[in-house]
């Protein structure tokens, strides 16, 4: 228990990380409570088009080219953005840990094959791959998550492999082997918990990357058509940058702040989980 407090203390000492966590918490809260604040469909037309922010107090962030409430779309869009970021990162982490742990633990040709396939996925231009997968499988939330997960696992696999390589011949692992423990038990129960801290830091950064990926996909108009995700809002505002540039500016700012806070959280986790590396 006291260790957990020590961890929280180290995390909170990094003021940037703390601020990031608070802001992401607020964004997540807004996303959760979106149906409470804005019970109607955010894609419904509610006012005159192209109202500037502040022009009408009922719509503090203004309205878009069709007269839809930008604040409502932004709050509802936070759900898609955060969910896709979390799930895509979770998927990349599961694939990455699976591949990296197997490669690092067994070594030999398995390691060789795993690392060559990681190289393969780094060679294919990732965003092009994501767009192709989404177009082929269809523009739904699940498929976007799958596509981003498939292109984001390689750094996690490399990191997990390196940790496993360093740990697999340590005494506690040898002791487990002598006791007759199976490979799966050693990998999951013994080595993985020790290998996890740097991997967690990396997957928190993958969340930020996934948010950026998703925003690019939906900016290009290939996102889920039923969801007002932030990238799509930026794309929708493009035609009007001469008269109403705020329509693109506001959701883009939301993406930037979210990604910034996620990165700050990643830095904070790094400080808290790897205290030895703090000054690097």
């Amino acid at each position: 228990m006291s260790e957990r407090f020590a961890f929280l203390g180290r995390f909170a000492r990094n003021r940037g990380a703390l601020a990031g966590a608070v802001i992401i918490g607020l964004v997540a809260l807004a996303a959760l409570l979106a149906p409470v604040f804005f019970p109607t469909d955010p894609l419904r037309i509610v006012a005159a088009p192209e109202l500037w922010p502040g022009e009408d107090p009922a719509f503090p962030l203004g309205t878009d080219s069709l007269g839809r409430d930008i604040l409502s779309m932004l709050v509802h869009g936070a759900r898609a953005t955060l969910l896709i970021g979390l799930f895509a990162s979770a998927m990349a982490t599961v694939i990455g840990i699976g591949v990296g742990a197997t490669a690092g633990y067994f070594g030999g040709w398995i390691d060789e094959a795993a690392m060559r396939s990681a190289e393969l996925f780094q060679t294919i231009p990732n965003l092009i791959f994501v767009l192709t997968i989404v177009v082929i499988l269809g523009s739904t939330l699940q498929n976007i998550v799958i596509a981003i997960g498939i292109v984001s696992w390689t750094p996690i696999a490399r990191m997990t492999r390196a940790e496993f390589l360093a740990l697999r011949d340590r005494e506690f692992v040898q002791a487990c082997r002598t006791m007759g423990m199976g490979n799966l038990g050693i990998i999951v129960g013994e080595i993985l918990p020790n290998a996890l801290p740097p991997v967690i830091v990396l997957s928190s950064l993958v969340v930020a990357g996934a948010v950026l990926f998703e925003s690019a996909v939906s900016f290009l108009g290939l996102g889920d058509p039923n969801i007002a995700s932030w990238g799509r809002l930026v794309g929708d505002g493009r035609q009007l940058i001469r008269s109403s540039w705020y329509i693109s500016a506001i959701p883009g700012l939301a993406i930037m702040v979210t990604v910034l806070c996620l990165n700050l959280i990643g830095d904070g986790l790094n400080d808290a989980l790897n205290p030895k590396l703090r000054d690097r």
Partner: protein
């Protein structure tokens, strides 16, 4: 000492590295082709259906003939083998939309994309390295914090949004630079004209990477400057400036060069988005058109050529790496 190798033997080592990397690239390319080929054939409708629909071909005999011509009646593995065999002869198939071979359609668009990629990487490298050096030289001062904060923002800003915001400011409001395209329509096309069109897309794509390089360069400089040989150089009586520029900088560049190689594919992917924002007539626009019209021979061709560009860039990075650090052994 490896550092005292004669010029000709350095060249010899470089050639050996080149040969080795080219051999390693073959299975990698094969993997890229197989993965993408299989992925594209997972697609529900074939491009043939779209093509026949667009051209209003409904005669079953004609459709069957087309299926045969495009080899769609063969089993998947045979189609794959035939595709690889054709690739070996630089035959990427035929694009019915552009009505020309796929390779020609890509070749028309590739120079613009390469120009954008190279200028963005060059900008990212120059700005990132300079910022990192300044931050590390003035560590824990206002300059250092300034670099960190600015880098943090550019690391988080989506490139397409940054692009749009720069268009609003520099093209629409101030009118200094063009809104998009690669040259002014009618009376454009000189080098200055292209450079003016290139500036904003380069900034939008490159500043993200500049932010990464600045962070990596800063910590790398700090790490290298604590090594023994730097102290020796200082003890020899060299000035701080000389030591930084001739000893620390060269060694500190190594991690930056490494990540630059790893990120080539990402830069190519990013250029797709930036090309869409700035109507840049590159491979990204072609890809976008082909993806939406399910013109899969072109999509596949872009994937394969894109991977080839990434591999070539990585080999170039390896050679630069060897030049920077002669101690590097060839794996």
């Amino acid at each position: 000492m490896a550092g005292e190798l004669s010029g000709s033997s350095r060249r010899h080592v470089a050639l050996r590295l080149l040969r080795r990397r080219l051999v390693q690239a073959l299975p990698l390319m094969l993997g890229v082709v197989v993965i993408n080929f299989v992925l594209i054939h997972l697609a529900p409708g074939s491009f043939l259906e779209l093509m026949t629909a667009e051209n209003q071909v409904s005669d079953p005999a004609t459709v069957e003939l087309l299926r045969k011509t495009y080899g769609l009646t063969d089993p998947l593995w045979l189609q794959l083998l035939k595709y690889i065999w054709a690739l070996l002869h630089l035959d990427f198939g035929f694009s019915y939309r552009q009505n020309m071979p796929v390779i020609d359609a890509i070749a028309i668009n590739l120079p613009a994309t390469l120009l954008l990629m190279i200028s963005s990487i060059a900008l990212a490298f120059a700005v990132g390295v300079a910022a990192g050096v300044v931050a590390s030289a003035k560590v824990r001062t206002l300059w250092d914090s300034l670099v960190s904060v600015v880098a943090m923002f550019f690391f988080a800003a989506p490139s397409f949004w940054l692009g749009i915001m720069m268009i609003v400011l520099f093209a629409v409001k101030l009118g200094w630079l063009p809104v998009g395209g690669m040259e002014t329509i009618g009376g454009g096309g000189g080098i200055v004209d292209i450079l003016r069109h290139l500036l904003l897309p380069t900034l939008a794509l490159g500043l993200f990477y500049a932010a990464i390089y600045a962070r990596v360069m800063r910590s790398s400089m700090l790490e290298v400057s604590q090594l023994d040989f730097v102290r020796t150089a200082r003890a020899k009586g060299l000035s701080r400036r000389q030591v930084t520029l001739h000893h620390v900088l060269r060694n500190a560049l190594l991690p930056v060069v490494t990540i630059l190689g790893v990120q080539m594919g990402t830069v190519l992917g990013g250029s797709v988005v930036i090309e869409s924002v700035f109507s840049w007539p590159g491979v990204g626009s072609l890809l976008f058109d082909s993806v939406s019209s399910r013109n899969y021979p072109v999509v596949l061709g872009i994937m394969v050529l894109g991977a080839l560009v990434v591999i070539a860039a990585n080999i170039a990075v390896d050679l630069v790496y060897m030049w920077l650090d002669p101690r590097i052994e060839i794996r």
